[in-house]
């Protein structure tokens, strides 16, 4: 079956009234959590996972996709109206967007963000539909050694490239891998890290871990920092754009898309780097460089397009390889597993209808988001007036209910609290959350591939580099690990050279 007819089948599935309704619920929820700083799509998907066990997997994933895209849209609203990024990927949007809003051009900033997100999301989703099957074709030829190498690359890249401190990143990754190890060894049946506790023999449920780290950790963190001087959201009417705004926006949208998609698809992608690159590019190419820093529309259009294209890009390795590169994709991958669906290259053949319905729902979700975001932006801004104790009380309630309902064991609530305290401590000491979640989710799968490789080579470690692709990836890993040292050497030799990139201030916040 070719891409086109599969996609049309996907549309047929996604447009049934039930699935369409879940798409609507998804985008509304997603926009809401995107608008509220501290809440992100990853946490929302984790909270909803236990609730959706009763649903068809297709409906659940359509809702999750809506939440994911909605989160990307919603983040820009808070950035523009409040100068507080709702999501880590809209940090850059706040730079110009808030200046525009202060200059009375909030309506145009919101419009270019929403329409740019729509354009980039649509192009990105189309690229996803075209690229993913190609990646799958390539991926089915890969053996266990290459898989192992790719997963190691993804883990190291996310840990080492993003975030402000590598040490903190690796500490977080180590915690995640350790949590992933808990339970019975699948090959020998030995118990690992169970401390003689029989309830731990099955391992920690990924839903409980995700809910604890994202929801409970964040709720405790907010509770510890509850009182703060409230801000005023800049009042705004209906978003609209004039002729000159369109003229200045469409090129940044396309360039942002071009940055966003490939970076999202790379293992170390995420949306922060492409949004920043897009901003720098627009600043350089702009015909109005004097407006940058005072509210240039290009500085909103480009990064907003980039973060939505990156969102689509992230789904490419997630669906084609079973390789998540950000927190939301990681939780969605965990969702696949909990529905008994094996993620990986075989996903397109074994779950073809589900995958294509998911991709079709992304197109639909994008369109819905444009409709609900353009006229309703002022209403979304009102969400920020919600007293946070009510909000977090609700989240804790759902977190507890969800964690308990997974296995109906009171013991899971103890784990929820312990890991929630861990999540709080990680925020307190600036440890990024993303490497931990990736470690928990990818750890056992990496171990599986490693075991397979070593079994095939009869325990000889040379089996790990028996495939040329694996060797190539190890070289890249080596470069990533050695780069900071090499960079330091170069800096020392040329001390006058100032660093090109400013500190990536927002990237340490992985809560999305």
């Amino acid at each position: 079956m070719d891409v086109w007819s599969s996609l049309m089948d996907g549309f047929a599935t996604a447009l049934t009234p039930m699935n369409f309704m879940y798409a609507v619920i998804g985008v509304i929820l997603g926009t809401a959590v995107g608008v509220l700083p501290g809440l992100g799509p990853a946490m929302t998907v984790a909270l909803l996972l236990p609730v959706t066990y009763a649903l068809e997997p297709t409906s659940a994933f359509i809702m999750f996709a809506g939440i994911y895209y909605g989160g990307m849209y919603g983040g820009s609203t808070t950035s523009i109206l409040l100068n507080t990024p709702g999501e880590s990927s809209s940090v850059v949007t706040a730079i110009e967007g808030n200046k525009m809003a202060k200059a009375g051009r909030a309506a145009q900033a919101l419009a270019t963000a929403a329409i740019g997100s729509f354009v980039a999301g649509t192009i990105g989703t189309a690229l996803l539909a075209v690229c993913a099957p190609i990646v799958v074709k390539f991926a089915v030829s890969l053996g266990a050694p290459s898989y192992f190498a790719i997963m190691v690359l993804a883990l190291l890249a996310v840990t080492a490239v993003l975030g402000s401190s590598r040490l903190r990143g690796f500490a977080s990754l180590g915690l995640g891998l350790a949590i992933g190890l808990v339970g019975m060894d699948s090959v020998t049946g030995q118990r690992r890290l169970t401390f003689g506790q029989p309830l731990l023999a099955d391992g920690l449920d990924i839903v409980v871990v995700a809910v604890a780290i994202f929801a409970v950790g964040e709720a405790l963190w907010v509770a510890a920092h509850l009182r703060r001087t409230p801000l005023h959201a800049i009042p705004v009417g209906q978003p609209w754009m004039g002729r000159s705004d369109w003229k200045r926006s469409w090129k940044p949208w396309l360039r942002g898309t071009a940055f966003g998609f490939p970076f999202g698809a790379l293992p170390a992608g995420g949306a922060e780097i492409p949004t920043f690159l897009s901003y720098v590019t627009e600043k350089r190419l702009s015909k109005h460089p004097e407006e940058f820093g005072k509210g240039a529309i290009e500085g909103v259009a480009g990064p907003e397009a980039a973060n939505n294209a990156a969102a689509a890009g992230t789904l490419t390795p997630m669906l084609a390889l079973g390789l998540p590169t950000n927190a939301t994709a990681a939780v969605m991958l965990a969702a696949f597993t909990s529905y008994g669906i094996q993620p990986g290259p075989q996903l397109f053949t074994s779950q073809g209808p589900l995958v294509w319905a998911l991709i079709a729902s992304l197109f639909i979700g994008n369109f819905l988001l444009l409709i609900i975001n353009l006229p309703l932006a002022p209403m979304w801004a009102k969400l920020l007036q919600l007293p946070r104790p009510y909000l977090y009380a609700g989240i804790l309630f759902f977190a507890t209910l969800g964690a308990y309902s997974v296995n109906l064991q009171a013991f899971d609530l103890v784990i929820l609290l312990v890991l929630g305290a861990l999540g709080f401590m990680m925020r307190r000491f600036g440890l990024p959350v993303l490497p931990l979640i990736l470690g928990v989710i990818l750890g056992p799968r990496i171990e599986g591939q490693l075991r397979k490789t070593l079994q095939l080579s009869a325990g000889d470690p040379a089996g790990l580099w028996s495939e040329p692709i694996a060797v190539g990836i190890y070289v890249i890993i080596g470069l990533i690990l050695l780069w900071p040292f090499a960079y330091k050497l170069i800096r020392r030799n040329r001390p006058k050279n100032s660093p090109l990139l400013p500190a990536n201030s927002g990237a340490a916040d992985y809560s999305d």
């Binding site: 700083p37 409040l82 509850l226 009182r227 409230p230 007036q385 007293p387 946070r388």
Partner: protein, 130 residues
Amino acid sequence: MTIVVGYVPTPEGEAALTQAIAEARRSSTTLLVINSSRGDALVDNRYAQEQEIQSIEDRLATQGIDHVIKQPVRGHDAAAEVLDAAEEHNAELIVIGLRRRTPVGKLIMGSVSQRILLEADCPVLAVKAG
């Protein structure tokens, strides 16, 4: 002796402030302006921003009124903050603005004005937006 006024950046709050200024001029006492927020929401439009406070400051200064402006964010509601301030400064008068509330709204959310009227130890002057 002081006059305490509960201020919010709304027509009712402005009316209360204008009335309080008149009262303070008449009795030439200190005017204490209270604008508080519980500080638990990210956005609170009833918490005055810097420019608004500055303009009140200027207005009081040009009229030559001895004044103090306070913006407590301690997690207490507005009624508690106004009553606290009145007690602490031994207020001779509290001035507040009244807005129209539906009975249901009052039932659910309570009423700041009602609490001040019932619990204050000094006279309370309640004004409506003109």
